[in-house]
Symmetry: C2
Subunit: 327 residues, 2 copies
DNA sequence: TTGAAAGCGGTACCAT
DNA sequence: ATGGTACCGCTTTCAA
């Protein structure tokens, strides 16, 4: 079924038939109605390719994530999805497997058939991101690329709240369980922990974990205890969850013996004990990125802005007053 | 940059330039090479819409899931993603929010711009699925629609293994914590538990939970104990995880006081105690569905087949010999 | 082995 | 308010 068929059936020209869908205000109401009736009858629907070829707009966007299996992303994806749907956009999903090279491949593959990109925690060189943004409406999540629209989860605030709480509870030595050092999120959280600790007069060490995984968290407990810290702030909930398990394995109790704070609040209250964590981010950043992108697609003249998503500490059960463990 | 530009630069006709990419065997090697060199130099890449308009093929597929935030799906998505990428396909992701109506909307929106669909655990009426499959290459995951290509995770086998193990460990009364009764997965698992229990001479009850959630699992522990069962097989890991928490809250120990078996193995060993569960499904079903779909796109004459993905019991720590709880 | 030209299905400018 | 028509960028007969 093509427009021509509909036009013929309705006894109008192709132009008129086309306008019935795109600019109905230019056509007499009854004509519009008649055309639409025939269209429905014939089961007509526009060919997105033909339309895109002619208009240069696709009504598609691309969302690229480093790892859909990382629990931070599904809520984000969901939000982008549903928002896009409402705005009558479809979304391509790309999973870069945390590799800059695959990101590039995905972007190149997709760039001709989308009106814009959302890059979540991209690993690409800043230069490439800027180049892309210059060509195509693009918004970046959790990467602070100057000159590009970006939405950043301001975990720093929540992390500071966590450190302050810990300090107030008598912890004098804490540890930051670091994630991938090349990510903006880690850099920001690391600095926040260190800064807040210094401000609060608390000693703070860093344990490098690299890829944020449950196992990494579980296995760092030994060295964590060895640092003499009585509390830890983890790069994310996944690591914190692993730490919980690690303590349980060595027979120590959280929070009685040791306090643990997570980040992202993606495990909600499903850990034991329920994780005190920095909440707010995943879903909200997705929603914000999408609306920014849609605005950008509508009017690419918008000046690049930096949007911060608030994230605050949620106090659950994994934090308690300091009590020193056997050394 | 269009093909015409490349052709002009290389001093050949558009036809020749086109063939250099699509049918290089028809063109003299050195000509092909020259054209490709100019194309690279000019930064040319084909316009997918133009190509699709002309060939009717898009090199895109759509993957529709009921809820990307359900941990069963991310590994599946990941697998489809990476496989598609390798086959030079891009993938649209749709999240139906568990609603048949949204599934339909997504399918209609996407059907003109994809070469095929993968529907994961679709809620749509069978009739609609068959209609779609008749029009467009389609493969369904975890729904047994006669006459349509489908891949089904054969959790039944694993569930039977679980029941047998439980029986062997002296459990004489078990419970099935049911998921959404309208899903194929629940129907299959439910029947498997009941059947295996009867075969093993074990009493089996069903507790309806509806939407499979951590909370539902946690809150059903009271009624679970009330049934007099000493072990439970849950519809999925998420529920089982909740059950674990529920027991912990009432001060009972799993597996000493009660045995719990999950399904899907999506939480891996991240629960405490590590969950004994029916493993193998998510990622494998994604991979299988993709390769089936690609074959189907290549040659839509293939007879609809039903593929079963093996899923077996993985014995971890949440199961132990029966020991009756205080009644 | 290469070129000319007719579409693929719409859109939008220019007329009427 | 409606129609005629030239593209949009590429593929693919048909000829040469």
């Amino acid at each position: 079924m093509t427009l021509a068929d509909v036009a013929r059936a309705a006894g109008v020209s192709e132009s008129t038939a086309s306008r019935a869908f795109t600019r109905p205000d230019l056509i007499r109401d009854d004509t519009v109605e008649r055309i639409k009736r025939f269209a429905a009858e014939l089961g007509y629907s526009v060919d997105p390719h033909a339309r895109a070829l002619s208009t240069g707009r696709t009504q598609n966007i691309a969302l690229i994530v480093p790892d859909i299996a990382n629990p931070f992303f599904p809520p984000l994806v969901r939000e982008v999805e549903s928002g896009a749907e409402q705005a009558d956009f479809a979304v391509f999903l790309g999973d870069s497997d945390e590799r800059a090279s695959r990101e590039k491949v995905l972007v190149d593959r997709l760039s001709r058939q989308v009106d814009g990109f959302i890059l979540a925690s991209p690993r690409m060189p800043e230069e490439q991101i800027r180049e892309l943004a210059a060509r195509t409406p693009t918004v970046v999540i959790n990467r602070d690329v100057e000159g590009v629209h970006r939405v950043l989860v301001d975990a720093a605030t929540g992390v500071r709240e966590a450190v302050d709480l810990l300090a107030a509870m008598g912890h004098t030595s804490i540890a930051y369980l670091a994630g991938p050092a090349e990510t903006w999120a880690d850099q920001e959280r690391r600095a926040a922990v260190l800064g807040a600790a210094e401000a609060a007069g608390v000693r703070a060490g860093v344990i490098e974990l690299g890829r944020p995984s449950y196992e990494a968290g579980r296995e760092c407990v030994g060295s964590l205890i060895a640092t003499g810290a009585t509390a830890a702030v983890a790069f994310d909930d996944v690591i914190a969850h692993g730490v919980l398990a690690g303590f349980s394995l060595v027979g120590l109790n959280v929070p009685a013996d040791f306090s643990v704070v997570g980040c992202d609040d993606v495990l909600a209250a499903t850990t034991l004990p329920a994780l005190t964590t920095v909440s707010g981010g995943s879903a909200a950043s997705g929603a914000e990125a999408l609306s920014t992108l849609l605005a950008l697609i509508d009017d690419s003249a918008t000046a690049p802005e930096r949007t911060a998503i608030d994230a605050h500490l949620v106090h659950r059960a994994s934090v308690a007053p300091a009590r020193h463990i056997r050394r």
